[in-house]
Amino acid sequence: MFVLIVGGGKVGANLTRALDEMGHEVVVIEQSRRRFDRLEREFAHRALLGDGTELFVLEQAGIKRPPEIVVAATGDDEDNIVICQMARERYGVPKVVARVNDPRNQRHFDLLGIAPTLCATRMMLALIEHEVPEHRVVPLLELRNENLEIVEIEIDGGAAAVGRLVEEIQVPESARLISVVRDGRACISLRELRLRAGDQVIAMLEPGGEDVLRRALVEGPRQLFPPV
């Protein structure tokens, strides 16, 4: 497979090395002379010096063939968006992957249909949230294009779902419980499984359905007619 990587910083350089070792054809573009010198020592002719948002630089790197994948991994979100747009619209590159540096810019990538994206800050944040026992719905995996999200929610002692069979819990139509992690191990079969405090429920859902799922597990079914 031919992969073109724009941006030869830590992300781009390590990606180049890994893909190269896997036997793929890789070209990496880097605009800073200092970084390029280091890349050239390791990757020789597979490293290219230039601004990867300039069409002639992209063409020198072989974008006209086109590559199966273009990875926009620069430290500048605007550059990454433009690289992906040019790769797709001008050169018919079938797949682009973009790095998001500032999580606040994620909305711009989404607005312009640039996907998939990867944001290290957001991922670390999700991992930290994972450690905080709260009734938070923690995203584990987001497949934006497919309209699917895999999330985790921790069940604490006060949650309505404690002591109930997983099968009994009424989850919204847009969600499905797929596993329960108990004492660090995932239970795939949910038959006859009663939830306990400390369990972590893994669910898949449509993006935006987090709140309804949280209420279903933590608050339980709403009682329309409270007992007299």
């Binding site: 300039e54 002639f56 979100d77 605007e78 968006i81 433009v82 606040r104 711009h108 607005l111």
Partner: protein
């Protein structure tokens, strides 16, 4: 009519002042607070300090009700992205964007906003001038 001018350098500030003189309500946006001085001491339009991709900054500048947005920061790619955010994200009816690189200017000429490329214009003007000189001889 309300115009938002994003990037208050030489081009942006001159344009903001002219629009203001023409009777527009103008808000300028620039990352650098000192850019305000380019607008002159008598500037009576709005001025917001911040990055043109920051939704809070754009909204403070009134992008939701703007009739026109002009994007003229010193970064081509920044301009290209802001112009698309204004057009697609905020549905601003009129968006113009400065793109120095002629190749990218051409590529983005059909994305729903007006592209102005000073370098392309200079090349065309100078080419025209050289040809006229050669015809005179």
């Amino acid at each position: 009519m309300h115009a938002l001018v994003i990037g208050c350098g030489r081009v942006g500030s001159a344009l903001a002042r002219t629009l203001r003189d023409d009777g527009w309500e103008v808000t300028a946006i620039d990352e650098d607070e000192d850019a305000l001085s380019r607008l002159g001491e008598d500037w009576r339009g709005g001025f917001v300090v911040g990055h043109g991709l920051d939704a809070g900054v754009l909204e403070a500048g009134g992008i939701a009700e703007a009739d026109a947005v002009v994007v003229a920061t010193d970064g081509d790619n920044t301009n290209i992205v802001i112009a698309q955010v204004a057009k697609t994200g905020y549905q601003v009816p009129n968006v113009a964007c400065r793109i120095l690189d002629p190749a990218r200017a051409e590529l983005y000429s059909d994305h729903g906003f007006t592209v102005v490329s000073p370098i392309k214009t200079a090349i065309e003007a100078l080419t025209g001038w050289a040809r006229s000189v050669s015809q005179e001889r």
